[in-house]
């Protein structure tokens, strides 16, 4: 039986049309996270304008980030937790 780590590797190992596309895919995360350099951004968006597959990958990556942010419900902090932390701290020397 394959491990989860192996699966995680396999889903990343997709074949891309050109070496350029491979480089674009390696930049995807930095682009959507706002961590790419100015130079990388130029390279990325110039390529994406003319490559349908990379355009679609970028869209999916961007959409995933938004969906995660918007759909994962935040839990309300139990009020007793804050009270309990404060009282323990006040009692600590």
């Amino acid at each position: 039986m394959k491990s989860t780590a192996t699966h995680l590797n396999q889903v990343s190992k997709k074949q891309w049309a050109t070496p350029d596309c491979e480089k674009i895919v390696s930049l995807l995360d930095m682009i959507v996270d706002g961590e790419a350099t100015h130079e990388d951004k130029n390279y990325f968006f110039t390529h994406v304008e003319t490559c349908k597959e990379c355009f679609s990958e970028h869209e999916k990556h961007q959409r995933l980030k938004e969906v995660l942010k918007d759909s994962i419900q935040r839990k309300a902090v139990p009020s007793r937790l804050l009270t309990s932390i404060k009282s323990v701290i006040h009692a600590t020397a």
């Binding site: 699966h7 995360d29 995660l68 994962i72 419900q73 902090v77 937790l81 932390i85 701290i89």
Partner: protein
């Protein structure tokens, strides 16, 4: 600007500084703890333990530095070092779900469509939310953690590297693999639900 360290403060001053600087982060911290442990009581204990450690080491915290990253680092270390060992539900990685997802891919779409057809009345947003949460929860904890820190809490790669004690390159590769996994899982879900955004 005061450069008084925690150790030189009176108890009242220390408490009031601690409360003003660190307690406002409790919401993010609790959500991080919940996403790691997937259990409200465990999250509660983990956050409490984190704040007590932070209080004990408050003199090492430099005022004006990144309090949120500091607390997240303490919480993550508590989770790895102490909590995971004694937790009633340790790593809670749902390997079986990940395995079956790959092993049955394409074979049980009909069953999935049948089982989802009677849920049309539920709001789409709610369903998507549940599915996204379950996909996220099915990731091994190291991969889940980078998604939480980056996409839910908005930390930079550099901050994540410090919180997790790993090189930035590892942060990037974990994020990439985790996202590819989530994309594939959610795309398959979208197909079974009958809305495939790729067919444009």
């Amino acid at each position: 600007m005061s450069d008084q360290r925690g150790s030189q403060l009176s108890k009242e001053e220390k408490d009031s500084r601690f409360e003003a600087e660190l307690l406002p982060i409790i919401d993010s911290l609790y959500n991080f703890a919940f996403r790691l442990t997937l259990d409200e009581d465990d999250a509660n204990d983990l956050v409490q333990e984190t704040y007590l450690k932070a209080y004990r080491f408050f003199e090492y915290f430099e005022q004006g530095t990144n309090a949120k990253a500091w607390l997240f680092r303490i919480l993550k270390n508590s989770f790895i070092n102490d909590f995971r060992k004694k937790s009633k539900q340790p790593a809670k990685v749902d390997y079986s779900e990940v395995e079956s997802y790959y092993n049955t891919e394409g074979n049980d779409n009909d069953a999935e469509i049948a089982s989802t057809s009677d849920m049309r009345s539920q709001s789409v947003q709610e369903l998507i939310g549940d599915e996204v949460a379950s996909a996220l929860n099915s990731l091994p904890v190291d991969f889940r953690t980078v998604i939480i820190l980056c996409d839910l809490e908005g930390f930079t790669y550099e901050e994540m590297a410090k919180i997790l004690d790993i090189p930035i390159g590892t942060v990037r590769s974990r994020l990439h693999r985790a996202r590819n996994f989530l994309k594939e899982k959610l795309e398959n879900y979208a197909k079974t639900m009958g809305y495939n955004n790729d067919e444009e």
